[in-house]
């Protein structure tokens, strides 16, 4: 069983990290593009940028996490992979758990690295940057879990991709509020709450997404 899941993880990583399903580069570039556009839009006031920059990084991270949604679940349903895995007794729950991990690895750590560049672009100081990085570490796993769940729910629907993006945004609002809120003075509790929301999403995702994948067979 563990060996099987290791092989699934290997395939997921090859597809999501380096492969034809978008890879890491696109979300990271998108993320940096948003961080770069923001000073153009609001002007080069260093104080304003430093104060709002953390929030911009959070919004950009959320939007970047939406990009790969249509490639997370649907292609494997359409190609028959999920049916073949079911015949081999590999549960949808464990497949989804592996996929959440692979999805997170493909955008979480890269966005945390890209945040260093974004912080420089926005003139964010070291202490805030540290809070942003810890917040992203706590929040992006939840974003990954949410993304995989929504991708499973919308797989096979007409206009599923656009719908997935629309569904993720309101559901990700708690992560955004607590994550960005942790940057406010005295907002340290925000980090703990971001982690808590993440854990809840991670706990629900395998079961919700697996149920959606099985329901899509009917």
């Amino acid at each position: 069983m563990t060996a099987q899941l290791a092989m699934l993880l290997r395939r997921d990583l090859a597809l999501l990290l380096f492969g034809k399903r978008g890879g890491t580069v696109l979300p990271v570039l998108f993320f940096l593009a948003v961080a770069m556009l923001f000073p153009f839009a609001v002007g080069p006031d260093a104080q304003l940028l430093a104060r709002t920059g953390g929030g911009v990084i959070w919004v950009a991270a959320l939007l970047a996490a939406i990009l790969p949604l249509d490639r997370l679940i649907e292609p494997d349903i359409e190609l028959g992979f999920f049916d073949q895995w079911a015949l081999r007794g590999i549960s949808e729950e464990s497949i989804v758990a592996v996929r959440v991990l692979a999805h997170w690895l493909s955008f979480g750590p890269p966005l945390m690295l890209a945040s260093l560049i974004a912080a420089a672009l926005l003139g964010i100081d070291g202490a805030s940057l540290r809070t942003v990085e810890i917040g992203l570490l706590a929040g992006t796993p939840g974003l990954a879990a949410l993304g995989v769940t929504v991708a499973a729910l919308t797989a096979g629907l007409r206009g599923g991709t656009a719908l997935a993006g629309l569904l993720v945004i309101p559901l990700a609002v708690p992560l955004l509020i607590f994550g960005a809120g942790s940057l406010a003075p005295g907002g340290g509790g925000g980090l703990a709450l971001t982690g808590a929301v993440s854990l809840v999403l991670l706990a629900i995702a395998p079961f919700a997404a697996a149920a959606a994948i099985r329901a899509a067979r009917g």
Partner: protein, 192 residues
């Protein structure tokens, strides 16, 4: 080959508002083969998916012992990967497919991306995957679609070998599929 058996009792299948078939029972022992016959849309694929446990029957139940292998119109191979790597994923899960690759004439195509393969070549690749799975129960949904005459003969020979080795074979096809001692099931008899 591990012990295998496949029985279905009083199955009914409903898709949307339409009852496709009802009152269908079957029992297959090791070495037996069954061809499901019927026009398009009569429920052959649905029956196979019910037998595979992928679709819940509207009524009745299915019992099987032994792993189940399924071939349908989707090859479950990553389209952008070279055939060799796409099949290697299943070989790592299932074990090696022996000489199946060479027998099905795919040995020269291993570095061709799956999306460039023809329908028949993909079907052959799916047969390699099925053989590698070493499941005693084979469910073949239109296994001859896209195969040329030689490959079709080979597919039937492979199914015959599988049954001779104590496996079960259920074939849903509107084309003639020749196996020794094969029973047939005409799905129209069970239509609602």
């Amino acid at each position: 080959m591990q012990e295998c058996r496949l029985t279905a009792d009083n199955l009914a299948c409903r898709r949307g508002d339409r009852m496709l078939f009802h009152g269908l029972s079957l029992a297959l022992a090791p070495g037996e083969a069954l061809q499901v016959l019927g026009a398009n849309g009569i429920g052959k694929s649905s029956l196979l998916r019910i037998l595979a446990g992928l679709l819940r029957p509207f009524a009745g139940n299915v019992a099987s012992t032994g792993a189940i292998g399924l071939i349908d119109e989707r090859p479950a191979l990553d389209p952008h990967l070279p055939l060799g790597q796409a099949l290697a994923f299943w070989q790592r899960l299932d074990g090696a497919a022996g000489d199946a690759l060479a027998r099905l004439g795919l040995a020269d195509l291993l570095d061709v991306p799956v999306r460039y393969l023809s329908t028949g070549q993909k079907k052959r690749a799916a047969l390699v995957r099925l053989i590698g799975q070493a499941a005693p129960v084979w469910l073949l949904d239109e296994p001859l679609n896209g195969l040329d005459r030689d490959a079709a003969a080979l597919a039937q020979a492979l199914a015959a070998e599988h049954c001779a080795g104590g496996g079960i074979c259920v074939i849903a096809s509107h084309q003639s599929f020749t196996l020794p001692d094969m029973a047939t099931l005409t799905l129209a008899q069970y239509a609602a």
